[in-house]
């Protein structure tokens, strides 16, 4: 981060110009820090800044008030340029109490010397225990070198509203609008949009608080920042990955989403439940994950491709049904918004632990397509692509998102609706005389499916081994043929894919391979090293099965290759770990087995998006090794 003192206004007020800043707002659950952060992000985006917002979510719905584990809020990385990831540690934090703040300090999420704007009502709290813990925390933070500013948020809000708990977030927003030199009118407009569904009086009440916060900051805070914006010439939209994905479902022409509630996938279905039915879509909340998948398969079988949306544990439960869709060649899109695993794991935290389950899941050989959106924009288009692949190849397409994409917000160019995205109407024409329901093309393995309602196409689909007539078959040759045909479809799809683009020079000392939500952080770290003359490049894989062509050639042009992932891999530094015993990360395992290249890996499973600074450190070490 480069900073530059640009101006010193009258009254000792300094305004510093920055390239970027990371700001977070944290509170107890239910105090509105999430909304404050999201709104701040949207205002910054309106100003033309690049943003990436990350939700800070406690694992519990209502953790105890003022608890270290209870921080709820939002972190916004604001930049002059386009921002591709959440970045490193926080530069400025607004905290509604000192305990949630200590949680962030303990998690090492705050930069040394970070600016802290701290609600000071606790200092004089009636409960001496609370007052004491506040004072102690304050002193500890000051001693640690943080720039702590005590702000009388409660006191100021009480001048305006009787319930400061419900208004403090907008007051804080006002503070931040002043600190980051945001246009107050843009903030008013954004609030009107945010509370658009509510009464005008609600909007006005929030604007009064916003203005009060802004006024207080003008009068009392002696610093401010300006992050010059480079507005995009394109129309931008800003949303999180789950909303983007849900809009993609709508745009793909899929008509039914069957789901069961699970974190962090469910917000996609929340959004669909709200918006989907207006276009004749249906969200079916099934009695369980298995049922949701089977329902989707039944609907796909009888009409257009259907989607089911889930996360890790739900994805495990669906495995048998997914195998059925593969076997019976019924198009199906399965979204897995990955979270920490195994078992219940870390429901609200990011991890890329499900790749091999997605590829190899379900017993027997069950070849399916696995895609991994890398950005929030990708989440949208991946649904359109997934639906089309599923229907073209009559197979299952798994889309692996994750808890980082699902809850982060980033602006991207507004999609222009294209009629061609929509699924065509399902065929109800009579089936040609003598046509078979599984008349596999000998080269591609593709057969045109018959849909109920088509005269002459009557047959029974089955999960049992079957011949071209869909008759249950015990003949060894027929089973051999069936497996071959289902496998060939992946090869046929692979022929249509393009090689991945190399980020940086086409050859060099080190190639980093990534997939999914780590793209922005990897490329930021790689770009930094490239700027220093290091011969590092990266590729990011959007198809995990089949893999894009040309990967081996790219890998071979680099002296060293490694993956960066957020899943488990053994560390060679552990005493018992050597080449005989080391378990590599998912992608490294895959690349090693497919390309016979010595691909190394570095992973972490801290439940947080991996930081560019961490990647930089890892890559530097790898270069030196």
């Amino acid at each position: 981060m480069t900073t530059k003192k640009s101006a010193k206004k009258a009254g000792g007020m300094s305004c510093t110009t920055l390239q970027e800043h990371i700001v977070e707002i944290i509170s107890d659950s239910g105090e509105g820090a999430q909304r404050c952060g999201q709104t701040l992000g949207s205002i910054a985006a309106r100003m033309g800044n690049g943003i990436w917002t990350t939700e800070i979510i406690p694992a519990e719905i209502r953790p105890p008030a003022r608890s270290v584990a209870g921080a709820s809020g939002n972190r916004i990385r604001i930049g002059s340029e386009y921002i591709t990831n959440g970045g490193d540690e926080t530069d400025l934090v607004v905290a509604f109490n000192e305990q949630v703040l200590l949680g962030r300090v303990n998690a090492r999420e705050l930069k040394p010397g970070c600016i802290i704007l701290l609600e000071n009502m606790w200092r004089t709290h009636a409960d001496p225990g609370i007052a004491k813990s506040y004072t102690e925390a304050y002193e500890r933070l000051v001693k640690a070198g943080y720039k702590v500013h005590e702000i009388p948020m409660e006191e100021e809000c009480l001048k305006i509203t009787s319930n400061a708990r419900r208004g403090k977030n907008m007051f804080a927003l006002g503070l931040l609008c002043h600190i980051y030199s945001f246009d107050l009118q843009a903030a008013r407009e954004q609030i009107a949009l945010t509370f658009g569904k509510k009464d005008r009086s609600v909007i006005d009440a929030n604007i009064v608080l916003l203005e009060a916060g802004h006024k207080w900051a003008v009068e009392n805070i002696d610093f401010s920042f300006r992050i010059p914006a480079t507005p995009s010439d394109k129309k931008l939209i800003s949303m999180n990955g789950n909303t983007s994905l849900a809009l993609g479902v709508m745009a793909s022409g899929m008509e039914i989403c069957a789901m069961y509630p699970i974190t962090p996938a469910t917000s996609a279905s929340h959004y669909l439940s709200e918006a989907f039915e207006r276009v004749g879509g249906i969200v079916h909340q099934a009695e369980d994950e298995i049922s949701a998948c089977a329902f989707a398969i039944g609907a796909s079988y009888a009409s257009k491709c259907t989607v089911t949306i889930t996360s890790g544990p739900g994805y495990s439960l669906k495995q048998e049904a997914i195998g059925l869709a593969v076997m019976a060649e019924i198009p199906l899109v399965v979204v897995n918004v990955q979270r920490g695993g195994p078992s219940t794991g870390q429901p609200t935290k990011v991890e890329q632990g499900d790749m091999l389950t997605a590829i190899y899941g379900s017993h027997g050989d069950a070849p399916k397509v696995v895609m991994a959106p890398a950005t929030i924009e990708d989440c949208f288009y991946s649904m359109i692509t997934a639906r089309r692949i599923a229907e073209t190849f009559n197979t299952v397409v798994v889309v692996l998102s994750d808890a980082s994409l699902s809850s982060s917000q980033q602006p991207f160019p507004r999609p222009e609706f294209n009629e061609a995205w929509l699924a065509p109407p399902y065929d109800q024409n009579p089936v040609p005389e003598g046509a078979k329901p599984y008349d596999w093309d000998p080269v591609t393995g593709i057969a045109r499916r018959f849909i109920p309602g088509q005269p002459g196409g009557m047959h029974t689909v089955t999960g049992l081994a079957h011949d071209r007539q869909s008759h249950v078959a015990y003949d060894p040759d027929i089973n051999q043929e069936g497996l071959r045909m289902r496998s060939l479809k992946l090869a046929a799809l692979q022929k249509t894919l393009l090689p991945p683009e190399v980020f940086g020079a086409p050859k060099g000392d080190l190639l980093v391979v990534g997939w999914g939500s780590t793209k922005g952080a990897i490329e930021e770290a790689v770009a930094g090293l490239q700027a220093e003359g290091k011969k590092v490049s990266s590729i990011h894989l959007r198809f995990l099965q089949p893999m894009q062509p040309g990967i081996k050639e790219i890998l071979q042009r680099f002296k060293k290759v490694m993956t960066i992932e957020t899943n488990w891999s053994d560390s060679p530094d552990d005493e018992l770990i050597n080449e005989d015993s080391r378990r590599y990360s998912a992608l490294a395992t895959l690349l090693r087995s497919r390309y016979l290249i010595d691909v190394d890996c570095w992973t972490e499973v801290r439940g947080q998006p991996v930081k560019p600074r961490t990647i930089r450190r890892v890559l530097l070490a790898k270069l030196e090794k």
Binding site: I237, I297, P411, M458
Partner: protein, 317 residues
């Protein structure tokens, strides 16, 4: 008798279906298996009702019963163990124009798929369900099922099963939105057909439990009921099953029961001594989930585009 010209014309174009139009392959069930009787009754129903084979879907799970769709010349979906209901629900939701049947067994419905069974009743989607209940796992070669009577000797319960059998009728009648519950036995084809027909004509989730013999694994277990007509209780009513004189002569244990009376239906369903045969409950007024859910907008390209653009407006910065 003379018909009017219009009627003659209609008759001329009316498609006459034959039983063969619904038959596919030779069933691989054991000789004497109750599934054969159920197949015969359903094929007769299809013919009598003139169901279009391409608009008819039989969905099943796994087990002897679930081979059923393979023997029908309609569309069929032979899925996975316990999941016939959700598959059938997906079919019906996507395509309310299709006639949907479900064939399931006591293991499929009452054990591995029990969660789906309970919720399928609650959804009350318009489909006709046949529970082929032979009180034993057949395809996996004789293990006790949830409906096996206590003491049933099987490969997993060689000293006799430990638990009382579950009663599929009382369970179904206990779930909210139950709208049609009937029971038949495979060895009285006349009532089997009449009940299958009534189930088909009910709009909603029509649940028919068919007590059936398994000559392979439990060849004698139903003998006490087969050999003593008093242990069949015919449940009849002007709005329910109507008894032919022949039937009345053989089965003298009869009660009149109004199928709208759910409390009495539960009482009759609980009968352990005799097997009640007839329509226990029917309520045509319970809404079907697919009708409730299809109240939304039309799926036109313009509607999708308009809504899509309106949504994007909300997120534009």
């Amino acid at each position: 008798m003379k018909l009017s010209a219009t009627k003659q014309l209609l008759e001329l174009y009316k498609e006459q279906q034959a039983l063969e139009d619904y038959q596919s392959g030779v069933p691989r069930w054991c000789t004497g298996c109750g599934d054969n009787a159920i197949l015969a009754a359903i094929q007769r129903l299809c013919r009598d009702e003139g169901l279009r084979p391409e608009k008819t879907v039989f969905v099943s799970g796994i087990g002897c019963s679930s081979r059923f769709p393979h023997y029908m010349k309609t569309y069929g979906f032979h899925g996975i163990h316990g999941r016939a209901f959700p598959v059938a629900e997906g079919v019906k939701m996507a395509r309310p124009d299709l006639t949907v049947f479900v064939n399931t067994g006591d293991g499929d419905c009452c054990s591995i798929g029990a969660a789906h069974w309970v919720h399928a009743i609650r959804y009350n989607m318009n489909m006709t369900v046949f529970l082929h209940d032979n009180q034993i796992y057949g395809l996996t070669k004789k293990q006790a099922s949830p409906t096996s009577p206590i003491g049933t000797k099987s490969n997993t319960t060689p000293r006799g099963s430990y638990l009382d059998g579950l009663n599929p009728l009382t369970v179904t009648l206990g779930v909210v939105n139950a709208s049609f519950v009937a029971q038949a036995v495979d060895w009285i084809p006349e009532t089997l057909f009449e009940i299958v027909k009534a189930a088909y004509h009910h709009k909603g989730f029509s649940f028919v439990r068919i007590v059936q013999r398994c000559p392979e694994w439990l060849p004698k277990s139903l003998d006490p009921w087969l050999q003593d007509p008093e242990r069949i209780q015919l449940v009849h009513h002007a709005d329910g099953l109507q008894l032919s004189p022949g039937l009345s002569r053989v089965y003298k244990n009869q009660i009149e029961h109004n199928p709208r009376d759910i409390h009495r239906a539960r009482e009759i369903a609980s009968n352990q001594e005799a097997i009640p045969v007839g329509i226990l409950y029917r309520n045509p007024e319970i809404p079907c989930y697919e009708d409730t859910r299809h109240a939304g907008a039309l799926r036109t390209v313009d509607a999708i585009r308009r809504n899509f653009d309106a949504e994007l407006d909300k997120y534009t910065v």
